[in-house]
């Protein structure tokens, strides 16, 4: 691959040292007078952005589980779970985004197990006070959300690749599951209460010396989204995420 520029330059003799740039300027002047200049008149016309543009986060309220993965994935901790009432009047947990801190990295959309969080093409976010920069879950909704705005993780397991399987993309919320350390569990049922998908059911496994029932959580793998709420809320650190690699 030879040089393309260095083969021609530097020139030893630059006889037209003034004329050529002048001519280029005149040429471009005529060109941009006949065809319009490349710039656009920004506030009046806007550049087209593709659907995968990472603007502010958007939320599809009815899809969201309230699991809080986005809260933990956010590098700037601008997302917070708040209690809101949905259409039926129930109080549910949904993410609220402080756009003033958001850096539009798209991690919330990427890590969302149900694709409720999306990226949007909305990038004009200036407000006159900081209070308006906080987008509550209803305001996060974005009209015209389509599947291009969802961000999917398609990771491959190293163990699969070693076996030669290359067509099985997974995401962490499909594989990683909490596992229980039986000896630490105190049957407090907290994990079952905090599970957003009610994937955890408490099963009686026996009775202790005082005759009380010992309940251990059973995690339904198909329902679990690996949100770690049970892990975080476990008072005795009996649960922990087992990563599949």
């Amino acid at each position: 691959m030879p040089y393309k520029f260095l083969n021609k330059y530097p020139k030893k003799f630059r006889g037209t040292g003034i004329i050529v740039p002048f001519g280029m300027a005149v040429k471009r002047m005529i060109k941009s007078t006949i065809h319009r200049p490349v710039t656009i008149m920004y506030p009046y016309e806007k550049e087209w952005v593709p659907d995968n543009y990472r603007g502010r986060p958007g939320l599809r309220f009815e899809k969201c589980l309230g699991c809080g993965i986005c809260v933990r994935a956010c590098p700037t901790t601008c997302i917070e779970l708040v209690d809101v009432t949905d259409d039926k009047g129930n109080t549910v947990k949904r993410p609220q985004v402080n756009i003033g801190r958001c850096m539009m990295c798209g991690y919330c959309a990427e890590y969302c197990p149900v694709d409720a969080m999306t990226t949007t093409t909305d990038y004009e976010l200036a407000e006159f006070n900081r209070k308006d920069l906080i987008y509550d879950p209803h305001r996060l909704a974005f009209e015209g959300t389509n599947e291009m705005m969802e961000v999917h993780i398609s990771e491959h397991l190293l163990s699969n690749l070693a076996k030669g399987i290359t067509d099985k993309p997974v995401a962490f919320f499909e594989t990683d599951r909490p596992v229980l350390d039986d000896t630490k569990c105190i049957s407090c049922q907290k994990c079952a209460k905090v599970c957003p998908t009610s994937a955890i059911t408490m099963v009686v496994v026996g009775t202790n010396a005082k005759g009380r029932e010992i309940k251990h959580p059973i995690i339904e793998s198909s329902k679990c989204v690996s949100c770690e709420n049970c892990v975080i809320n476990c008072p005795k650190a009996a649960l922990k995420i087992k990563e599949v690699l």
């Binding site: 740039p21 002047m29 007078t33 200049p37 710039t39």
Partner: protein, 391 residues
């Protein structure tokens, strides 16, 4: 003595009667003066008519309002205002033209406000006028303000002294060119003192650069001026223009001189390839660093007045002034002149878009080692032409 019709107060005197009144400063027909005179007749006549309504003893015959002395005095004041206003409008047009050309050269839209963006300059000017008037504390106050006003004032003065045609001038000097050029060359001294007075290192360096640049480029410019005067055998602007109409535009025999004068004129008006006195990359704004807000806007305006004067010089010396070959003085020689000035200024503007700024030592090298010999070659060539008798 009763009520007078307004038409008895406002009537237009013929040119001859004005000339004979003894108060008229011009011997030839002078358009701005005539416009001023007509305006003053209308204004003063209207005032007189108003007074006449309440004081019927006033009549057109015995009112000093319509005396030739007062009329001529008012006319001269109005003439100065008209000449400045026309110069100002030419300037605005040139700024608009430059911004449009630069915008298209850079592949972007330029000015936006008004028809074709013409009013953007007015808006910008208004904006600078709305700014707070800030001056640093540790300046040399007297020099700071006087140098500023003199730089702007001398720039405006020379721009107003440029005749637009043989009927549009203030004073028809015999040595008109030399007077304008003398005032043109006043700027380096003022800029140097302005740079010193601001008590700022950037301004000081900028002022010194401006001085060294202007002084070294005035020499080839003066040689070119002398060459053209030699060719036309006169120092008057009208004479030079007429000589070109009689023979040929001097750009043809003196194409070398035209190029030299063009480069020197760009340098003298401190425009971009040679604007090292306000090189914003290394010296923040050069000698204008501490002149903020309205002062900066006025300096900018003064710069464009100087650019206009430089263009007008080129048009007068090389492009036939307000005359067109074959047509002579068209009915509107002023417009012809302004059109030519705008064409020359287009070269200035494109050069601003095409070249980067030249360095200090390079600029002096160009001035002394390239332009000076070329100017002398041109002078020798003209002397040969004169000796042979072709001009």
């Amino acid at each position: 003595m009763g009520y007078c019709s307004i038409l008895e107060w406002i009537f237009f005197r013929p040119w001859d009667s004005i000339k004979e009144s003894g108060y008229c400063p011009y011997s030839d027909y002078n358009l701005p003066y005539m416009i001023g005179l007509r305006l003053s007749e209308i204004i003063l006549g209207f005032i007189g008519w108003l007074i006449n309504i309440f004081v019927p003893s006033w009549s057109p015959e015995n009112s000093f309002l319509l005396s030739p002395a007062l009329l001529n005095g008012t006319a001269v004041v109005l003439e100065v205002v008209i000449i400045f206003a026309v110069g100002f409008i030419i300037n605005l047009t040139m700024i608009w033209e430059e911004r449009k050309i630069l915008g298209r050269t850079m592949d972007r839209r330029a000015t936006m406000i008004g028809p074709l963006g013409y009013f953007q300059c007015l808006g910008d000017g208004l904006k600078t006028f709305c700014k707070e008037n800030i001056a640093p504390r540790a300046i040399d106050k007297k020099v700071y303000w006087w140098a500023l006003s003199l730089v702007i004032g001398s720039s405006v003065l020379i721009a107003c002294m440029v005749p637009l045609s043989d009927r549009w001038y203030i004073v028809n000097y015999d040595a008109g060119l030399m007077v304008i050029f003398g005032l043109f060359a006043l700027a380096p001294f003022l800029i140097l003192s302005a740079g010193w007075a601001q008590n700022n290192k950037y301004s000081l360096i900028g002022g010194m650069r401006a001085a060294e640049l202007m002084i070294s480029y005035e020499v080839p410019m003066l040689i070119m001026l002398a060459t053209t005067c030699l060719m036309a055998e006169t120092y008057t602007i009208g004479g030079i223009v007429k000589a070109q109409f009689d023979t040929v535009w001097y750009i043809v025999p003196q194409c070398l001189g035209f190029f030299v004068f063009l480069v020197a004129a760009i340098a003298e008006s401190e425009r971009v390839p040679f604007d090292l006195s306000e090189a914003e990359a290394e010296l923040v704004e050069g000698w204008q660093t501490e002149y903020a807000g309205m002062k900066w806007g006025l300096i900018m305006l003064g710069d464009y007045f100087r650019g206009y004067t430089a263009c007008a010089f080129i048009v007068i010396l090389y492009l036939g002034g307000w005359m067109l070959p074959g047509l002579g003085c068209t009915p509107v020689p002023e417009l012809v002149f302004i059109g030519k000035v705008c064409l020359v200024f287009a070269i200035f503007a494109i050069a601003r878009g095409a070249y980067p700024r030249v360095r200090t030592d390079q600029i002096l090298n160009i001035g002394w080692k390239v332009l000076m010999p070329l100017a002398l070659v041109n002078l020798a060539f003209v002397i040969v032409l004169k000796t042979v008798g072709w001009f």
